[in-house]
């Protein structure tokens, strides 16, 4: 059995001959193959031409070095997408867009109540004023002759008797407070169960279809 060390410790002619063989191998590997003149240019033109099936971009169209560490964000690359993946992405985008639109349509929370406010009116007319810090709206009706007064409107399904006014003074001041959501309402007072009377201090709404006058209340929504 030969000594292992002799394999790594050549001497004399043996080493010189081996070095010469290695130099020939390296020289052979470094030598460029001979090609037809112009062949290299033809190959590169074909690679860069998309019409010829090329898919490599020239270096001068690559993202600028200024992109720096974020260059991967703008560097073009090929992505394989199946039809199912594409459909899923479209549906998810549509659902997200729909949710965004619904959210945009959401109404902000009400914070201010605006109601028609007018001077105290003569007998048989009404006024309404808003309590500024809440959605509660006070309705006022003045009539010394009335025995009972109730309020009807879009907020109580126009049911007479469900929202009675209470007599606040012996000389005929009637009041009631009603919590209301923001919106536009029409209403009227019903005197003694039969006579419909508008709130003369509030804006009026034309109503030739039903033949009776009524009033308008606007509870504002915060923006």
């Amino acid at each position: 059995m030969p000594d292992d060390t002799t394999m790594f410790d050549p001497t004399g002619d043996e080493a010189a001959e081996r070095d010469a063989r290695w130099r020939r191998v390296v020289g052979e590997l470094r030598r460029e193959p001979s090609v037809r003149p112009g062949a290299l240019d033809e190959v590169m033109a074909a690679v860069l031409d998309p019409a010829a099936g090329g898919s490599v971009r020239p270096i001068d169209s690559a993202p600028s070095r200024r992109a720096g560490r974020l260059g991967w964000l703008v560097r073009p690359r090929m992505i394989a997408v199946t039809p199912l993946h594409a459909a899923a992405a479209l549906v998810l985008a549509a659902v997200a867009l729909g949710a965004a639109l619904v959210r945009r349509g959401d109404a902000p929370a009400p914070s201010v109540v605006a109601a028609p406010a007018g001077p105290a009116a003569a007998a048989a007319t009404g006024t309404s004023e808003a309590a500024a810090a809440s959605r509660t709206v006070q309705f006022v009706f003045v009539s010394g002759a009335a025995r009972e007064v109730s309020l009807v409107g879009d907020f109580n399904d126009w049911q007479t008797g469900t929202t009675p006014l209470r007599r606040a003074s012996p000389d005929g001041l009637w009041t009631v407070e009603v919590p209301l959501e923001p919106g536009r309402y029409t209403y009227a007072f019903v005197v003694d169960g039969t006579r419909w009377v508008p709130d003369d201090a509030a804006p009026r709404a034309p109503d030739d279809e039903f033949g009776g006058e009524k009033s308008v209340l606007y509870v504002r929504q915060d923006t």
């Binding site: 199912l84 993946h85 459909a87 899923a88 549906v91 998810l92 659902v95 729909g98 349509g105 109404a107 605006a114 028609p116 406010a117 007018g118 009807v152 879009d154 399904d157 126009w158 049911q159 007479t160 923001p182 919106g183 536009r184 029409t186 419909w196 804006p203 009026r204 709404a205 034309p206 279809e209 039903f210 009776g212 308008v216 606007y218 504002r220 929504q221 923006t223």
Partner: protein, 218 residues
């Protein structure tokens, strides 16, 4: 297991997710258009009139018109003890005005804006005026300007003057409180004997000057 065999369950799961995603909006839309009859209508109307009212409500819901004001209109007529046929006609008229209002104001209009616009149309205001006002006011809304417009016309201000006054104040910088104050001032002037049109024009000019939208009189 080969990769091809492993992709089959994943494909089925993706397909199921797709179906769920597609079905969810349909189900949500179905909730927006309830088919059940309104119990308040059912309690106060019968026979042909009830059927016609329900048809008007369904049609409104399908056209993105708020149905609750139509229900209230019907209930108002019933409380006034009016003939059902007359009530149905009035509800149909309001539904048509709400459609016109929606067309004039656009999709973002609130229910209050639509109702005020429908009332303005009933008072004879042209849809073009509503469109101009909505464009100028933007997100500030048109409900209170239109309520004031209809009211001052009812109180005697000539319609063309009233329209010009409100349109001149349609800048979003003019707040709802300004329109309320304008109405009070005009009514006060009319009560004191001033001609309604003159009072409206003078008070509007004062408001424009206050907001820097017009130069003061020399």
């Amino acid at each position: 297991m080969t990769p091809r065999q492993g992709s089959a369950p994943r494909t089925r799961a993706l397909a199921a997710l797709l179906l769920l995603a597609l079905a969810a909006p349909v189900a949500a839309g179905a909730q927006d258009v309830p088919r059940a009859p309104d119990p308040r209508i059912a309690a106060r109307f019968t026979g042909e009139h009830r059927v016609r009212l329900e048809a008007i409500l369904d049609s409104a819901r399908a056209a993105d018109i708020p149905a609750e004001p139509l229900v209230q209109r019907a209930l108002e007529g019933a409380s006034r003890r009016l003939p059902p046929a007359r009530i149905v006609t009035a509800v149909a008229g309001l539904a048509e005005r709400l459609r016109l209002a929606r067309r004039a104001l656009g999709a973002p209009a609130s229910e209050a804006d639509l109702l005020a616009a429908a009332s303005a149309l009933h008072a004879g205001i042209e849809p073009a005026t509503l469109e101009r006002l909505a464009r100028s006011r933007g997100s500030a809304g048109v409900a209170l300007p239109l309520i004031v417009l209809v009211d001052i016309v009812e109180r005697g201000v000539p319609q063309d003057t009233a329209e010009r006054v409100i349109l001149s104040l349609s800048d979003p910088r003019v707040a709802d409180a300004d329109f309320q104050a304008l109405r009070q001032s005009i009514l006060g002037d009319i009560g004191s004997g001033a001609p309604a049109g003159v009072a409206a024009a003078a008070r509007a000019r004062g408001l424009l000057v206050t907001h820097g939208l017009a130069a003061p009189m020399p």
